[in-house]
Symmetry: C2
Subunit: 236 residues, 2 copies
């Protein structure tokens, strides 16, 4: 049996994005997955990384956040809200991030979930990133809504490539820690479309969930192409 963690971040419980979350829960259960949901607004998840995240401080005088993560995780002294989410991610075979795009990125509550949960140590460290990252063997899937229309994205479009705008998340975060990053699902123009168009989009999303195991993945760098100082082996 496979396991999926759906991390959902939308301030309106009746939003279309929330309907996608509910459809994903049903769809993954129908596929035989065990499902966990972290509903960050409902949990009132604290997104602010700080020294309070560590019950014991390796250095109480001067905070280097990643160093405290590396000490606290093996010692079991992480703040319990972080420890619970770390356990969820380690438990899951598939991580789904379901959110409305705010400023070509995740809402702050989800950014803080990443800042606090993607620990230096189990998730990455030193030369353990991309295809050597801690999440190797797991997949991640971004399922997001936005106000823009498809023709606003592309090489010559007004906003450029949407995957490029989201490269900090797709490559710099999910790919960085070793996830196989599936092609995102985007619900375009959601605040402005009709109820009928929303129903059609939700049906498309349900099909995407059903077909998730056939979904293509994005290409990520391989550390095999870089030397021990991370310089390209073939710089040309």
């Amino acid at each position: 049996m496979k396991r999926v963690l759906i991390v959902h971040a939308h301030p309106e419980p009746n939003s279309f994005t929330a309907a996608m979350k509910d459809a994903a829960v049903q769809g993954f259960e129908a596929l035989g997955y065990e499902v966990r949901v972290s509903d960050l607004y409902a949990q009132k998840f604290n997104p602010v990384a700080s020294g309070d995240d560590f019950q014991v401080r390796a250095n109480p005088e001067y905070l280097v956040y990643a160093k405290e993560q590396r000490a606290s995780y093996p010692d079991g002294t992480l703040s319990p809200d972080i420890a619970a989410e770390v356990e969820n991610v380690l438990w899951a075979d598939l991580l789904v991030l379901n959110f409305p795009i705010f400023w070509f990125s995740v809402p702050a509550i989800l950014k803080g979930w990443i800042d606090r949960v993607f620990l230096s140590g189990p998730f990455f460290g030193g030369f353990r990133f991309y295809d050597k990252g801690g999440m190797l063997g797991k997949a991640a899937w971004v399922t997001a809504t936005l106000g823009g229309r498809p023709h606003m994205f592309g090489a010559r479009a007004v906003h450029g490539e949407l995957d490029g705008m989201l490269s900090h998340l797709l490559r710099g975060t999910l790919g960085y820690v070793g996830f196989r990053v599936l092609q995102p699902f985007f619900g375009f123009h959601v605040p402005y479309i009709s109820a009928h168009e929303r129903a059609t989009m939700l049906t498309e999303f349900k099909h995407a969930v059903s077909d998730v195991e056939q979904r293509a993945a994005l290409t990520m760098p391989s550390l095999d192409h870089f030397d021990e100082r991370l310089r390209p082996l073939d710089p040309h």
Copy 2:
């Protein structure tokens, strides 16, 4: 007299990034600027966009965040912490975002400052973005620290172009609302360098502050090249 707003977001008050903030305050004062600082950790700024951000709700039953922004700003019913920051940005000729890069983006507390302060209405709306954005005539400058080294960024480098990873912020956020976006200042490898190297880097940063009015800007799209539906006028 010119006015600068420095928005600073670092959890450690004695960090190198905080030293950059202090150096920026001194440097801008020496240039004759009037300076305001929003120190988000010190202010315990709330980064979570929610219905609580509006003292009166246009639609209490269903939250569309941007629609509530458009109603609350002219009515003066925005949450006071947001209203104060909006006033700071409108007051300033130059906005400086000073932060450590977390996951190729801003820390969540600063993401939430953007989510809540960059209002639909005065900052952007409809066809008012990029060179028609609400912040036209103002400049914005990202001054950030990171763990990576310069050779890890570039067309063939392990992480690709750093400005590309940050396109959601430089183009999709600051450029989008109309700021002239200055070339960022990056303090590379900060957690790992010696005290001497930090002193050298701080001196470089002070020179960058002194020379800010000569600093080059990034190229942003112009809406003049797109039609009324935002399709490229010359698609080839």
